[in-house]
Symmetry: C2
């Protein structure tokens, strides 16, 4: 009942991300996504009645996944590790993945910049929470922004840093985070 539906849904979402990454954010057409997902256009529009709904689902899934990862990393964190350190580690791992994991964001922005609002509010939430949990504001600011920089480089697929440099950066940040 639901399995079949959910399967197709996920395939479509993954296909959309793939198409965005491979053919460029501007070429994310419904036809392209449908054929990539092995689904007819009718089927695609059955699952996501409009393109906007598809984008929204992309955003929501992404946010949910990150939130879950953060939550489980927090609970599974070694005793005494600060929340900021957990955040740094998790984000660095994400950014180290070879594929720019979220290049579909550009498609969403191109479609309608408002798709960013949930992401923005999520970020603000995370930041405010970290602020409440981190005694040293200066350390938080530096670390948070540096991680944001790492995320941005991954997003733009611009690998200015070598692997060693990235490692050194992360260890420096963890040191700053205390």
């Amino acid at each position: 009942m639901k399995a079949r539906r959910a399967n197709s849904r996920d395939k479509i979402l993954a296909a959309a991300a793939d198409v965005a990454r491979e053919t460029g954010p501007g070429s994310l057409s419904l036809d392209a996504v449908a054929s990539r997902a092995g689904v007819s256009k009718g089927g695609l529009l059955y699952n996501f009645p409009t393109k906007a709904k598809l984008m929204q689902a992309l955003v929501e899934d992404y946010l949910r996944a990150f939130e879950q990862a953060l939550e489980s990393a927090r609970t599974a964190g070694v005793g005494g590790e600060s929340p900021l350190a957990t955040y740094i580690k998790l984000s660095a791992e994400h950014a180290a993945e070879s594929k720019p994991s979220a290049s579909w964001i550009f498609s969403a922005i191109a479609e309608d910049p408002d798709f960013l609002t949930p992401i923005k509010s999520f970020r603000r939430q995370v930041f405010e929470r970290l602020k409440g949990e981190t005694p040293d504001l200066k350390a938080l600011l530096v670390c948070y922004l540096a991680i944001e920089g790492l995320r941005s480089m991954n997003l733009f697929d611009s690998d200015v840093l070598s692997v060693d440099e990235r490692r050194l950066l992360v260890s420096s940040l963890l040191e700053i985070a205390g």
Copy 2:
């Protein structure tokens, strides 16, 4: 000869940036740019024979402006100020501007991701140069990435930081830079 009429070129470029910022990166149509610039579509296509050429000009002008600003900040820099400190200050000033100064980048990416290549190579150049001029690699990495994070926030128009926090961040970075 060239100067008088050539201001039409600059008007078009500015108009393109405005349209991208105001109506969203996906809505950067030649018609919109032309009417915004107070120029007919024919006139627009006279100055920039294709949309790709327009985007390219946007990128090149942006890079040239930043490079010049960096160069003059370096020479005008107070004695004893490290190149990294100059870079931090200049970038922070840029990021503090209210308008996301380069949101047209999203339009360029949507049009064709290859428009990023000159930007990427420019960044790498700047980074390599800073690496040669900065003794403390750890400090460089942290500061460079944090600045990159600031740039990214400005680009995405996501103002997580308050003015005070941004100030504190910059002073912390300058402290780290030594």
